[in-house]
Symmetry: D2
């Protein structure tokens, strides 16, 4: 049992603090023989990197990943391939700006883990949030790139933002091609433009806002996941809830299912044009009884607004003084934007793990 | 890694099919010296039992639990106490009525795990849903009673229904005392009466409806849970999502956090009357950075409407014929009602596990 | 992490005390579709059962196993088959004779876990050794029968005794057919006869003696096990050391390898008659670098002499009085005999687990 | 389940190949607040390092460790302390000499994992043994230093060599002070001198020889370890068997217990001078029923002779040619010597894990 390890067969262990020399990941259980080099991983980190638009943190991190173990290449391999040994990834921290945090050393910032870390451990690396910093997610994103290799090209994982603050997208205007063309991973260009205006206002006001991420996965065969405590949707729920600032997770119809009638929520079955089993709807989000149906997985997670804002809030110090706190320096007005590639990575990690778990119990030897 | 085991240090393994001879649980890791007998467990099962109101399934199960191992008593103990060895619980199935299911043997009922089990395993115990049946939750509820012993009397776990179908409670009318006085675990007596009417209609119409469960836990000290992949809220999320028919889980402000502003979502800190740290609000639901704050935990889960309804739906058989399916026999018009004690049990199991995990890393030896 | 669970993918959890109502096992992770009924398990328990010869305990246990979950049968299956759900086994205790133990309630019998249980838990079921009793091994043997199903007929697991007390077998007289024909699982009929005489003397003297078990497995393909902490030999070592009274485990040349020269210990490779890779010797016992070579696995374990003997020994009571203790009643003069089927079961459990682990990382999807 | 992770609560994951850029470890579950810097770890690595005597490999590795995460220091801490977050250690490889291995790229060296890795993974990093190299043990030794911090100064872990080849020490001449004064971790100076001569001969002959390591631990309180599958001795067995070239593990009387009588093997109990429970002997090696007794733990492991020798042996290549193989370059004539600090590290890791496990189930909250 390990607080810093995710997964059972495809296992990710991450390490590293926001202001330590580096952060990293060890991936164990990866099948051998998969082509893997830094070039397979770096693009996903770049998608996540701060400083890529005016709407995200202006901290300049190169986030350059190195593979330190687990691959091998000689003149007979087509390039570096995984060996089945643990893959160690490292990303050095280059732009910490420690002095931005010295004044909040003793303050328990509302909405952050400062208070809870002190209660739990007695000692806390306060620089940039230490281990609780969202920079840990860089390690997840890097590992997610390897998980995608395990899943293969037949499985597509795409996450988008469907809401920033109270403004949701217009689903009738959904265009996958638009997602790469704005700063918000938004599939609705009209709403993306409105979000840009909303966030400029919010930033100027020293405020922040929440967001809703929606992740679609297609190509998962039926049969992944297992009943009771190995459920695919339960694992997706804990994976998404482990993302910083997540406050809710839903699948398919989600929380709205509570208001529905059985005859409306049912996903009827029929034969498709090829005479294969198909469903007429997808309220279940691709999972039934904890097992994938073969339909698209649809998972949503709600990200709360950034707790580090310029607007003053009341809090306590370690010595129990009541003080006001206001965060200056570099922060996101909407951390939900950067959660998009992290949600994709978590989905990839859960699915790679489930793929191996399904092989273990069900493969013909 | 086990699909049928929940928890890490306080570990529950369940077994048993709906129409097998019995179902049961093995609880490992329970501390020694706790008073434990069947009388500590049976009341929780009775709360869950079918046939207790006209609104739930009319299957008559005694659900009588036996403790087969893990406790010991002699003239020097105050009564039976746990020994630290695994505790084995067994509940015999007494009222299966196999013949109710023979006609659906080859049908993939919409919304059930029939199709996914066949895809995954190739063989399926179709009687009453086999292993996917909600009867497995009897084992969880029994284990939850033992988890409460580990937590002790200082921690209170109470779940209620806050919504059936589109009708939500009036939160201003919340009265904990009302919860035990209606068939719905509802804290608002006025809405409870309306729900009774709603369900009578729905049952007559051969339909079903979803529900929303809300679970409150008070008395949890600050410091339980751990960052990154040991988060208390992530574990609560997967625990609740593992309950049959769950489609979404949220904590604190939940999915609504996506629409909020940072200054509204922040839970400010102040000193209470005794000069101790306290929070001015609880949008975070009692967890920050994955660690408990000492505030009440507030978790909600959405339960989809029962998939077994009298209204006909289209589906396929194993031999890929398109057929209509309609379920007769004994079924719940709203499985959310029976999910209430199950949600309490899952919360207890997660917390007992986290209590032991906190002791492991942080106890003064 | 569970003290009462063995294995990772093919997982066994056992429960039950010597003088409780029953003992049992839950097996999780078993592949679906394997034929399984009580008739597949009972013979292995009968091989283990007390009262089958004058040389083992005269406690009369029927040791009748029941399968309570995890299998399914209807008119289309060839018989009961595993469903992939957890398999629950139960064996009721029928002949406990509690009163045999009341006088040792407060005594810490030398060589038993009485003292250590009291130090660890504070409370102890002293009847017949409670959870530490060798009766727990009945559950292992039952589970081992299921593990053998997972392995299939191509893998043969056979354990024998090669030494009782100071008298070892004559390896040049080894005859597998002899093993079933004496009370000692001995492959050398001459030595078996001498052992019978030795044990009659030892029993009369109120003494006991140790033994050495040797387990051979053939048919394991190359490639099971994994480097570093997933080594097949390390898992075999802990499996065998977990058997009551085990004090040492060795593989291949074992402890004697310490005295050998490299050129003598090396297992050279050559081509066999079919042009396939083969080894010229097997000092490594079938494992290299923690991975199976395809050769026979050869594992030995040393079982210490029974600690419950009639000869008086000095010990303490719970209230720290110095007393003499002497065990009357039913006991084995050589528990090593009954360890033989247990060793086979442990080997089967380790190998079934490793088979699934190899499939997980290496199977072509 | 992870092949490269050891332990349950105090968890070590190692990574890195012999000829990769670096090797390392991630330690999760370490309690917070323990003083820790590189200076606490480096001495143990130096004890292990090649090139420290003419009897071990002449590869010149600095083996300098860096701590990359998991500790924190500011003006208020006494120095760097653990935070409870994962501790990442890295050791760069500086002296690989790749060209020493190119001729054996396609050869399956007898006694090495070359053949089994190819069978398992299909791809193998052949340089210096890749992941199977004994260099991985540097990571274990570094982690063992941290485990010792968790155990505290009251627990002493000391391993020695008691046999090289056929020559065993004279136990009546045992002097702990001698261990640091010869190249063999030998407590008997007379035998150490003879071993030096023996090894000079063996090296000149291009041969190698096995050895026996014996590890003593004092200060472990009674009550660590748990019955059935959490046994302290079973965990020590798998820990020691996971060390490269280990072929047997024994505890206390070990394999010799098979030949003993019950009245001789029994460890009687009495009161010591302070009126506390004590034992009159220690045939059990400090563990009864899988739980520590409070006596010294005594564990022995047999290390087979190095498989890389100059004497020619027959083997096969990947293309199934029969060839002779002879290893030139830098090798140990007796790898048992370097296993001594590794055995200490493994004991420390097992015990730190068991300390936390005991706290989890038994601590008074």
């Amino acid at each position: 049992m390990s607080h810093n390890t995710f997964g059972h067969l495809f296992r990710l262990t991450t390490w590293g603090e926001s202001h330590g020399p580096a952060l990293g990941a060890v991936i164990d259980g990866c099948p051998p023989g998969l082509a893997l080099s830094e070039a397979d991983i770096q693009p996903y980190l770049d998608k996540r990197r701060p400083g890529t638009s005016r709407h995200v943190t202006q901290r300049r991190e190169a986030d350059e990943v190195r593979i330190l173990s687990g691959t091998f290449e000689d003149e007979r391999t087509p390039g570096p391939v995984t060996t089945g040994s643990p893959i160690s990834l490292m990303i050095e921290n280059t732009d910490q700006r420690s002095k931005d945090y010295s004044d909040i050393r003793d303050r328990w910032r509302p909405g952050h883990a400062d208070f809870t870390y002190d209660m739990k451990y007695g000692v806390r690396d306060y620089r940039g949030g230490g281990r609780s910093s969202a920079r840990e997610t860089a390690a997840r994103v890097a590992a997610g790139a390897i998980a995608r290799k395990v899943l293969g090209d037949g499985i597509s994982i795409r996450a988008v933002l469907v809401q920033i603050g109270p403004r949701a997208i217009d689903r009738t205007a959904w265009d996958w091609a638009a997602v790469e063309q704005n700063d918000f991973f938004c599939p609705d260009p009209g709403t993306a433009a409105r979000w840009a205006e909303d966030l400029d206002e919010i930033r100027k006001a020293g405020s922040s806002v929440g967001a809703m991420v929606e992740c679609h996965v297609s190509g998962v065969p039926a049969g992944w996941g297992a009943p009771v405590y190995g459920k695919l949707d339960a694992d997706l729920a804990s994976a998404m809830m482990s993302i910083n600032a997540a406050k809710g997770v839903e699948i398919g119809a989600g929380m709205e299912a509570a208001a529905m009638r059985g005859e409306d929520a049912a996903d009827e079955m029929r034969l498709d044009a090829d005479g294969k089993p198909a469903f007429s709807s997808n309220h279940n989000g691709g999972v039934l009884g904890g097992i994938s149906t073969g339909q698209d997985l649809v998972v949503r997670l709600a990200i709360k607004p950034t707790s580090s804002i310029r607007i003053e809030k009341q809090t306590l110090t370690r010595s129990l003084e009541e003080v006001a706190v206001s965060t200056k320096g570099r922060h996101d007005p909407c951390v939900g934007i950067r959660a998009v590639p992290v949600a994709e990575a978590m989905a990839a990690l859960v699915l790679a793990d489930h793929k191996l778990r399904a092989l273990a119990q069900n493969a013909t030897p």
